[in-house]
């Protein structure tokens, strides 16, 4: 294959948007003052300050504890869920499957807010519990509560990988165990799950990584108890010293990257192993699900209970909070019902802009992002070259960077490079940051679609006389158009629910619902947060409805 601009430009683009912000982060961490300060000089002062700061140590420890805790909850439950749905006769499992992935599409900050108003100290359910039982048997604002919620909401991430590995497992290995005399649980623990061990290992490292990137949950749930994790520590640092302490923020951001990078690298290695372990089953092979017997209904109840806890409970809280004037002990629900909060939303120009911008960045921005991902994926499509493996490694970088850090880095990029400054307060800056944050996810979606295109279909066009560009236009792209549409819907939802990436870029012109909620959280405007959250969930819900109607696979 010849080198052509078609192939090289996207790769160069990726290198620029990935390495540029990261480089600036490193550069800033080595300065004694913000990069725009003329007195700034090279120094390791920022590192020394942060590394000896007891708050940082505490935040680091809390992050580690939460990661560990949520991993030990999410991985066993997610694996079990995968086995139940893929391999057993759990009632209604076909119907249930898309719902299991819904938590992935909910904004953590909305979910966290939902928990506060549902089961917080004065939440709906807490107060109802007190009036019925006399006590509230839980404490939301504790490390335990945070770990519990983080663990439960990350079950789908594990389910995603374990279930897809289980699906590619030849059912004959389980049938063999059954014939030998093993029951479903013995099969799960001695045959099925051990065989998908690489995927479970992958999930462990993934959830552990996501633990360090948590932002919305600890921001909302850790705040009242004074609990700080690395990301919220970074966020609070912004206002800590009065003057912008960019060098300190850069060091904290890098400290997160130092942990996440090896994890991402490990995941990449594990992915390779997983592919080698796969026991691929024959095509279209029908198999009888393993009978759970008496446990069928209790297991279903357990799954529904979990869904109730991670989807219905927080969303009900948010919805309820959005239609009451105020809430507290002794308040009767019927007396405080109102739609005022939604009416008041319209009165704030920045909130209205935020809703419009959210739709714009999801719809138009999502489409542009899919186009960019498609250009990158096509540039390395069926091309054996060192350039392709370079791209693969570049794509790993944003996976190791939490949205908060990417947003911060891009904010600096737009400050640092003077020609870009006018774009800082436009959606362009936000779009670029979003596109980079979701780069790996988007490329995976497009690659999955491209994988469906048999190479002969393109070769046939080539032999018939079509150039590379015409092959893409006439064969490849038309064949993956449904995949592109599905990718757009998924990216739309991800962009709409995104909240952390826009935090630093938030300003007049770049408001989006997610980052508005984060900034409103600091002011305690619960009414507006609830109304905005309902709007966001409604948009995502609508997109989810369309995606499912169109048969888009959510488990990409």
């Amino acid at each position: 294959m010849r080198l052509s601009p078609l192939r090289l430009l996207p790769v160069l683009g990726v290198a620029l948007v990935v390495l540029g912000p990261l480089g600036l982060l490193v550069y800033q961490s080595l300065l004694s003052a913000p990069f725009f300060d003329p007195t700034a000089s090279y120094s390791t002062e920022a590192f020394r300050y942060i590394l000896s700061n007891p708050d940082f140590h505490r935040a680091f420890g809390t992050s580690f504890l939460i990661s560990l805790g949520m991993t030990s909850i999410a991985v066993p439950l997610g694996s079990l869920l995968g086995f139940l749905v893929v391999r057993t006769d759990l009632p209604g499992r076909r119907w249930l499957e898309p719902w299991l992935l819904v938590p992935v599409f909910l904004s953590p900050v909305v979910v966290a807010f939902g928990y506060v108003v549902a089961v917080g100290p004065v939440g709906f359910f807490s107060l109802w519990s007190r009036s019925l039982l006399g006590v509230v048997p839980w404490n939301l604002y504790s490390v335990g509560g945070l770990i519990m919620i983080a663990g439960m909401t990350h079950v789908p991430h594990v389910f995603l990988y374990v279930s897809s590995a289980l699906r590619s497992l030849d059912p004959a290995v389980e049938e063999a165990a059954r014939v030998t005399g093993a029951g479903p649980w013995r099969i799960a623990f001695t045959v099925s799950l051990p065989l998908v061990w690489p995927s479970i290992l992958f999930s462990i490292s993934l959830v552990f990584l996501l633990g360090f990137e948590l932002f919305g949950l600890p921001l909302v749930l850790g705040d009242p108890g004074g609990l700080l994790v690395l990301t919220t520590y970074l966020y609070k640092l912004t206002n800590l010293l009065g003057v912008p302490s960019y060098q300190l923020m850069a060091v904290v951001a890098l400290s997160i990257v130092v942990i996440t990078f090896p994890l991402v690298y490990l995941q990449q290695r594990l992915l390779g192993t997983a592919a080698r372990y796969a026991v691929i089953r024959g095509k279209g092979q029908a198999f009888r699900p393993l009978p759970l017997g008496e446990l069928r209904w209790p297991m279903l109840a357990l799954v529904l209970l979990w869904l109730l806890g991670v989807v219905v409970l927080p969303l009900a809280g948010v919805a309820l909070r959005s239609v009451v004037r105020y809430w507290g002990e002794g308040v009767s629900l019927t007396e405080v019902l109102t739609l005022d909060h939604f009416r008041r939303l319209v009165g704030y120009p920045n909130l209205v802009r935020g809703i419009i911008n959210t739709l714009l960045i999801g719809g138009l921005g999502g489409a542009l992002a899919v186009a960019a991902y498609a250009a990158i994926a096509l540039s390395s499509h069926r091309w054996q070259s060192p350039v392709v493996s370079l791209t693969d490694y570049l794509v790993l970088v944003p996976r190791a960077l939490p949205g908060l850090v990417v947003g911060l880095a891009f904010f600096w990029v737009f400050l640092f490079f003077k020609p870009l400054s006018p774009l800082r307060s436009t959606l362009v800056s936000l779009w670029l940051a979003y596109t980079v944050v979701w780069l790996a996810y988007g490329l995976k979606l497009i690659s999955a679609a491209l994988l469906q295109v048999a190479p002969e279909l393109e070769e046939a066009a080539r032999v018939t006389g079509a150039s590379q560009g015409l092959i893409y236009r006439d064969v490849t792209l038309p064949l993956i158009r449904f995949g592109l549409l599905g990718s757009w819907l998924l990216i739309f939802m991800m962009f709409v629910r995104e909240y952390s990436t826009g935090v630093y870029l938030l300003g007049p012109g770049t408001e989006v619902i997610g980052s508005l909620i984060v900034s409103l959280w600091g002011t305690g405007a619960l009414d507006l947060i609830a109304a905005l959250s309902v709007v966001e969930v409604a948009i995502v819900g609508l997109a989810l409805f369309f995606a499912l109607r169109l048969g888009v696979r959510l488990d990409a």
């Binding site: 048999a454 002969e456 046939a460 080539r462 032999v463 018939t464 006389g465 079509a466 038309p478 064949l479």
Partner: protein, 351 residues
């Protein structure tokens, strides 16, 4: 005049050599079959001619013009070679109708709309697809899809038609019919064709000439009769047809013939490779050449019938005498247990 000249094509894939210097030519109007077992490199060779693979060494000329030359790093890309290729999987585009599939090559050649409609109509008519023009591939049967793939490759009259196991996805009955009309069609359109197959019957039936490949090398080149009845080496002899194999020692040599002796038997056969007396040797004879006869004679063996299978159009017998086993075919069940078998010396090849 040769339409296609292939010289010393070599191709490595990682550690393994897929093609180890293959040369051949294809004459105008001729059908040349590339026959070989899987992994022999025949598809790689075809794809090299198409321009979809890049050989490590060698030279390819099409219609007197060089289209690939490893020595000078020269390569005409696949899309500018103007060849027609029919894929094993057909590779017809699922998002286009039959008409659009076939018309694509003409559209790329900027043929004007009216002329294009005429030519596509002509080809579809010729292949019995006229009624299918508006359909999508998934609405067609396997045989129809196969013909669409052929129509797509034929419509712009390529100088050479490349076919990669085009019949292997059809069921057995359809495949036999397709052989005959495919040969007729290629002859009618006066195309030259390079035909890859692993099925010897298909190669024998369709080709004017056969190139038998094994392990990236040409084992023999010749007409179907030559390949079947005069194998150049043991591989070709064993590959073609259904064979009896006998192991023994050469006890006597007279000119072109040798006497192979085993435990309790001896047979005269053709020496196909230079051999000396007392050499160990292997003899091969096609099953259909072994005949059940009445009494003793030269190259007659007395053997016991072990089993007989009815195969519909014939019987297959398995004979044994000591450790010697022979298969033979016949038209009726054999009543007696002991038979005389005749092994014609000129058809028993000693390697």
């Amino acid at each position: 005049m040769p339409e296609l000249v292939v010289e010393n094509i070599q191709k490595r894939l990682g550690q393994t050599a897929v093609l180890r210097g293959v040369s051949f030519h294809l004459n105008q109007g001729e059908i040349l079959a590339l026959l070989g077992p899987s992994g022999s490199g025949k598809t790689t060779l075809l794809r090299s001619v198409a321009g979809l693979e890049r050989p490590d060494a060698g030279r390819i000329e099409l219609g007197g013009k060089v289209i690939f030359d490893a020595a000078s790093q020269f390569e005409v890309p696949a899309e500018r070679r103007g060849l027609g290729l029919v894929f094993q999987s057909y590779a017809i585009w699922p998002h286009r109708t039959v008409y659009e599939n076939v018309a694509y090559g003409l559209r790329l050649r900027r043929v004007e709309e009216k002329e294009m409609r005429r030519r596509v109509g002509e080809v579809l008519e010729q292949l019995g697809l006229k009624e299918m023009a508006g359909r999508y591939p998934h609405q067609l049967s396997g045989g129809q899809q196969q013909r669409v793939a052929l129509a797509r490759a034929l419509v712009y009259s390529p100088p050479v038609l490349l076919l990669d196991e085009p019949l292997s996805n059809l069921d057995a009955k359809l495949r036999e019919e397709a052989r005959a009309w495919l040969r007729e069609l290629i002859k009618q359109t006066k195309s030259s064709a390079l035909y890859v197959t692993h099925d010897q019957i298909e190669a024998l039936a369709i080709a004017d000439r056969i190139l038998l490949l094994e392990d990236g090398q040409i084992q023999q080149e010749g007409t179907p009769e030559q390949i079947y009845a005069q194998p150049a080496n043991r591989f070709v002899a064993e590959f073609m047809g259904s064979n009896n194999r006998l192991e023994g020692k050469l006890t006597e040599i007279q000119g072109e013939q040798g006497c192979l002796e085993g435990n309790g038997w001896s047979l005269w056969g053709q020496l196909r490779v230079p051999k000396k007396q007392a050499d160990d040797a292997t003899a091969l004879i096609h099953v259909e050449q072994v005949r059940v006869v009445e009494g003793p004679g030269r190259n007659h063996l007395r053997m016991q019938l072990r089993s007989a299978f009815y195969l519909g159009e014939r019987w297959e017998y398995l004979f044994a005498a000591g450790d010697l086993k022979l298969r033979a075919w016949g038209q009726e069940p054999l009543p007696q247990r002991d038979c005389w078998l005749f092994v014609p010396a000129e058809r028993l090849w000693i390697f």
